[in-house]
Symmetry: C2
Subunit: 343 residues, 2 copies
């Protein structure tokens, strides 16, 4: 079994490799760190680590590089999570301090996270299945178009344009709007869907088609409210670290833009709700992302964590710093969103 000093050797191999991006050899280890033993001893330890598949040699006679398993061991047992520097804390305050709307907060958050970690940052929109209807608004756009706006008490706004067959009458629309609001106000989303199904019946047949179109749109909007959405920033950072990828980063960038793959990945990582968790290298192979690592944390809720944020980057990333940053930003965002009224 690998023990004591061997694990220390693994730690410095990960650290040095992340810093220098070059395979690290026994000699450079004894030079840069004070192990109090000779290079030959380190070599013996490295042989052990290689047997356990924690490190590997790219070529017969070169230094060693951590394997996926090695990174995993490092993340789980060897990295102490450095607290953020004061400069970083100040950046968080400065960036997120002036809170605006939800879109804006998340956009700022994702940019902040990308700057703190120098990686691609991802923030998932909160799911609002528990929210309630606050207000419905109908806005006539043209003779045959209406925009319906759907507002929840948790602050999410959905808008949608729909075409209607007949001609529009402003006062009719006002009537529908008033009735919708009196019926729906305060309902949960599931109840609202039920109520909407029966809603058109109370209208005269002449108007029923119009009302039905509107309720249909609203039901869709409620559905969209449950749907996941992702914002990201810092894709340029992926280009910066391009050398860390064996092939092209093209498929990775495509997956990021596609979103659906990442949302599945996020979903899978949702297991440990609140803490930070990492998914490393081949652990993402099923998503076609075997050459990247993802560090995420849940955020946003005392009533069950509902969304995640995190960073994505090459295997060879600074896990200590990134884990610390993800954790700090997640906590800050949770506080900011006000689910925790202690703020």
């Amino acid at each position: 079994m690998v023990s004591g000093r061997s694990l220390d050797v693994l730690r410095v191999i990960v650290q040095d490799y992340v810093a220098s991006r070059e395979p690290v050899g026994s000699k450079s280890i004894v030079e840069r760190h004070s192990f109090g033993v000779s290079a030959a001893t380190i070599r013996n330890d490295m042989a052990l680590l290689e047997e356990e598949e924690l490190i590997a040699a790219p070529h017969t006679s070169s230094g060693r590089v951590p394997t996926d398993k090695g990174y995993r061991m490092f993340v789980d047992h060897l990295s102490e999570i450095r607290p953020l520097s004061t400069a970083q804390r100040q950046a968080i305050d400065a960036f997120l301090g002036a809170s605006l709307d939800l879109d804006d907060v998340l956009a700022r958050t994702v940019r902040l996270l990308s700057q703190l970690t120098h990686q691609v940052a991802l923030v998932q929109y909160p799911l609002l299945s528990k929210s309630r209807v606050r207000h419905v608004e109908l806005v006539p756009l043209s003779a045959t178009r209406v925009m319906s706006v759907f507002i929840t008490d948790t602050g999410r706004v959905e808008q949608r344009i729909l075409d209607v067959a007949g001609e529009l009458d402003e006062t009719v629309l006002g009537d529908i709007r008033a009735r919708l609001n009196s019926v729906l106000g305060g309902l949960g989303l599931a109840e609202a869907t039920d109520v909407l199904a029966a809603f058109p019946e109370q209208f005269a047949p002449a108007r029923e088609a119009l009302v039905r179109a509107i309720t249909l749109s609203l039901v869709e909007q409620i559905g969209a409210n449950r749907q996941d959405k992702l914002v990201m920033a810092g894709t340029a950072n992926l280009v910066r670290t391009e050398e860390d990828f064996s092939g092209s980063i093209f498929p990775v960038l495509e997956a990021i833009e596609e979103q659906v793959t990442l949302l599945r990945l996020f979903g899978e990582m949702a297991a440990d709700q609140n803490g930070v968790s990492a998914s490393i290298g081949r652990e993402n192979a099923e998503f076609g992302l075997g050459e990247i690592s993802v560090v995420t944390s849940g955020y946003g809720a005392s009533d069950g964590s509902i969304a995640r944020l995190g960073v994505l980057g090459p295997l060879r990333m600074d896990y200590s710093n990134n884990i610390a940053a993800v954790r700090a930003v997640a906590r800050y965002l949770t506080r900011l969103l006000g689910d925790d009224p202690s703020a």
Copy 2:
């Protein structure tokens, strides 16, 4: 002066170079095209073109490559704009057919444009300076937080969260909301700003602070409504064409994410309102983007074109196809947004 056949030579140089990404020599020209003259004659023409700085040789003994000026000449005089293929037209219909809310339409548009051109696609949000206030909604989020939602009759929705000092009372908030709507409804944005400035005075001193905070937020939201915003897609395509850039594409990607540079660039190109216009290579030097080309078109308005969309890519891009795609998508989007009721 360069004449007749020389310009034909320039055209095939641009076309072949774009297709093959390799400098094109006199011999390969006579092979691939039927000019009915010998390679030596082509060489003479090429000498002329080089004198006019329309083409250049990367090194002493290699084929020729179009210069910025050469591309410009090609775009202005030599490229016939191919109509889109039926497959491409179908893609437009399929992609944009099911119209939802504005956010969704623009998100689909930008993805579509990126797929049609295999470049980075950009769509600017329409400016709504001419729109009118439709509705204002105030949503209490917690004991000290309120979300204000601002809806215009053109369908844009702005939301913002604000902290208030004192405690919140639901009925007070309802009162403020009702009064705001009766005062603001139907006003233009500029008038609304004026009205809001005097609005808090009608309240009792005890509530004035709260009201003032709300009106301040609303004024900011109106301002944001005038602010530009950009959505993009297809950054992966930039990586795919990375070889076309002399240095790294990192600064280009950064500029894209930063948005502000591109918005300035868009602003500058707004000159010719409705047609497609291109900005090629060094023409973008003042924005630090001397190695890219941008093809844009205005869209959206019979009452003065208010926003632009387009693509961005390497100098060596398929201008004919991209110009056609940008134009088609811009027209389609204009129709879809309903400013032109003939749709």
